[in-house]
């Protein structure tokens, strides 16, 4: 393993199921060795896109190429792409080792090479001791590692992962996300992950593509997409967001909170401003500069490492360090720093 892969290019892919437009012209590209995540709510078309790349679903139009080679013309069996399925889809009658060897044997690789590659793959995913077990005798996390080994042993240019964490409990999930990230860095292959879990997307990805109703709404590095959501949908789907309805008046905006001045002028006359809860600054006295309002602490929720503060105006939420003496009912000043106050596209 470790051979550099080829770049994946998806262009204008469309797909209809009956009367439903599942994909409405999706274009994306993945450089070799990157971890790409398709993030979106269920029904946004992310799994369909993954299945089209895998060859398990046919596209109505558009193209999918890998280093310039047309993938859509080939059946699933001939694509240098392997998938980790949502419920892992391990063959129940085959042992762990036989499951992992499945793709190699189907391609009639000599048995000596099969044995070597399988043991390497089992080693990579720490499955050595489970080689002769049947899938029914494995835990969820072990099954997932077998599914990963079974796909990776074929040395695919692209590894597709269809919500691979959804069958794991929350605690295990966090650990496995880190392992997956490390694994991808170590073997240097392109991973394309489908998920509806924003934490997962932020944890593992080099690039996140937020999908909505068959389109890609925004693409970028996790920190960019989080810090600069382009639309209301992205702001709400990825992380928590305070959304403030606003009307533009010159350089500033009129809102229910009063006059606010974002750093960047919005391109609309009526729209929405957004600020992340952790960017709100709370103080006991009136801060200097613009964008300051006075509010009552309606609710203070202790979250261990921080407190979540609900302010009595427009449902505004803020985050503050824990145990700073904030109490319910207190009057505080809130500043919305202009640099973090973003105008969202309509």
């Amino acid at each position: 393993m470790g051979a550099p892969g080829r770049a994946l290019e998806v262009r204008e892919v469309r797909k209809r199921f009956g009367a439903v437009d599942v994909l409405r012209g999706v274009t994306l590209s993945a450089d070799p060795g990157t971890f790409l995540t398709l993030l979106g709510p269920s029904g946004c078309g992310k799994t369909t896109l993954l299945r089209i790349v895998a060859g398990l679903e046919l596209a109505d139009s558009g193209s999918v190429t890998l280093g310039g080679e047309d993938l859509l013309a080939k059946p699933a069996q001939q694509r240098p792409v392997n998938t980790v399925f949502q419920q892992y889809a391990l063959f129940p009658h085959l042992t762990v080792a036989d499951n992992v060897a499945f793709g190699l044997r189907a391609r009639r690789i000599p048995e000596a090479d099969v044995a070597r590659k399988v043991s390497e793959a089992l080693e990579l995913l720490q499955l050595g001791e489970l080689a002769v077990r049947l899938p029914a005798k494995l835990s969820g996390g072990q099954k997932q590692r077998v599914a990963l080994a079974r796909a990776l042993v074929n040395e695919p240019d692209i590894l597709l992962l269809d919500e691979p964490m959804s069958a794991l409990d929350a605690k295990l999930r966090a650990q496995v996300q880190l392992e997956l990230r490390r694994l991808q860095r170590r073997i240097g292959r392109t991973f394309v992950l489908v998920t509806h879990d924003q934490d997962e997307a932020l944890t593992v990805s080099d690039r996140i593509l937020v999908m909505r109703e068959g389109c890609i709404e925004q693409a970028g590095a996790p920190e960019d997409v989080y810090a600069r959501p382009r639309t209301r949908f992205v702001a709400e789907f990825l992380g928590a967001a305070n959304l403030i309805e606003a009307t533009r008046d010159g350089d500033a905006c009129e809102t229910a909170l009063g006059r606010l001045e974002p750093a960047e002028k919005p391109g609309w006359t009526r729209g929405c401003l957004c600020i992340r809860p952790e960017k709100l600054e709370l103080s006991a006295t009136r801060p200097e500069g613009a964008n300051a309002i006075e509010a009552t602490l309606e609710e203070v929720v202790y979250r261990g490492d921080h407190v979540e503060v609900f302010l009595g105006v427009s449902g505004l939420r803020a985050r503050a360090p824990a145990l700073n003496g904030l109490a319910r009912g207190a009057r505080v000043w809130v500043r919305l720093p202009a640099a973090h106050l973003m105008a969202l596209e309509a």
Partner: protein, 321 residues
């Protein structure tokens, strides 16, 4: 089930809008003790157990006893205990050892096995065909497959006569192609028996297979395709493991009746290909040798038990996963 008040608990509080939950809670409350559960369960099962005892177990015992009785001069049953009937099953007759009965047995097993293989071979594509129809139309297709079962076996066997007889187009075609001499017909023949047996037993193979195919998890098929499997590989590793139990049911449901069949072999097979079923029928009717007939029946039952044992083993293995 009538609704009664639960002491200390207002039934109305447990009711949903149509009152069903309340009634259910009260009813389950009655069964909440182990003694009551067994009392009621025993009473409910008693009738069925009695029927099974009267209609299956007792006649079975009578059959076992009969197999050790002696045939009287005029075909009556004499209760002189003997092992002669069982000896005859293994070929030791009045005239010394002869392999006839063993031939009949092995021919019967062969016919039943071929019938089973043909039924399963036809049933698989049929099951996939029906399961791939839109859900609303599946039952119409299933009905088409099941409806022939409403017709008497004798009539369905006779229906093959014009299709396979001397003047049928199929016979003519076989004669032209050189498979048959000019004075031969497709009936009576072994082929006719296989055709008839397969047609009659096919629904018993389709129904269990259809039930399994309809519930197939497509993810395994996707996985097999993703991992370069050939068509055979997909069937072998993604489909077969999921339908194995149903396949065992289909095999048992076709093999057991096919082994004991006598109508189709009698009507379509002619005199040459006597099977166990025919021999059995002969003993009870023509030869009036009930004790020997009973011994043959026991052998058939033994074969069926072997088939059921195979089925039970498959199920146990499935459960052990």
């Amino acid at each position: 089930m009538s609704e009664r008040e639960l002491p200390g608990l207002p039934t109305a509080a447990l009711k949903n809008r149509d009152g069903a939950l309340g009634a259910r809670v009260v009813w389950l409350g009655e069964l909440a003790s182990r003694r009551r559960l067994f009392a009621r369960g025993g009473a409910l099962m008693g009738g069925g157990m009695g029927l099974i005892l009267a209609l299956v177990a007792l006649p079975m015992l009578a059959l076992v006893a009969l197999a050790f009785a002696t045939r009287g001069t005029h075909g009556e049953i004499e209760w002189t205990l003997t092992l002669n009937n069982l000896k005859r099953l293994f070929g030791y007759g009045i005239l010394g050892w002869s392999p006839d009965i063993l031939w009949i047995l092995s021919r019967s097993v062969l016919v039943a096995a071929v019938t089973t293989v043909l039924c399963v071979a036809f049933a698989f594509p049929l099951a996939f065909f029906v399961a791939s129809r839109p859900p609303a139309r599946r039952y119409a297709w299933l009905a088409l497959i099941v409806v022939p079962m409403l017709t008497n076996v004798v009539i369905r066997a006779y229906a093959w006569f014009p299709l396979l007889g001397m003047h049928s187009p199929l016979t003519k075609l076989a004669q032209i192609l050189g498979f048959l001499a000019a004075d031969e017909a497709l009936y009576p023949s072994a082929l006719a028996v296989y055709l008839g047996q397969t047609a009659i037993n096919l629904p018993f193979a389709v129904l269990p297979l259809y039930a399994a195919v309809e519930r197939l998890d497509p993810a395994l098929i996707d996985a097999a395709r993703d991992l370069y499997a050939s068509r055979w590989g997909i069937f072998r590793h993604a489909i077969l493991p999921q339908v194995r139990a149903a396949l065992a049911v289909a095999i048992v449901l076709t093999f057991v009746p096919a082994l004991g069949a006598f109508v189709v072999p009698d009507l379509l097979g002619g005199a040459r290909g006597m099977l166990l079923g025919n021999l059995l029928q002969q003993q009870f009717f023509t030869a009036r040798n009930w004790p020997y007939g009973a011994a043959i029946s026991l052998m058939l039952v033994a074969c069926s038990v072997v088939a059921l044992w195979y089925y039970g083993r498959t199920q146990a293995r499935e459960a052990a996963r």
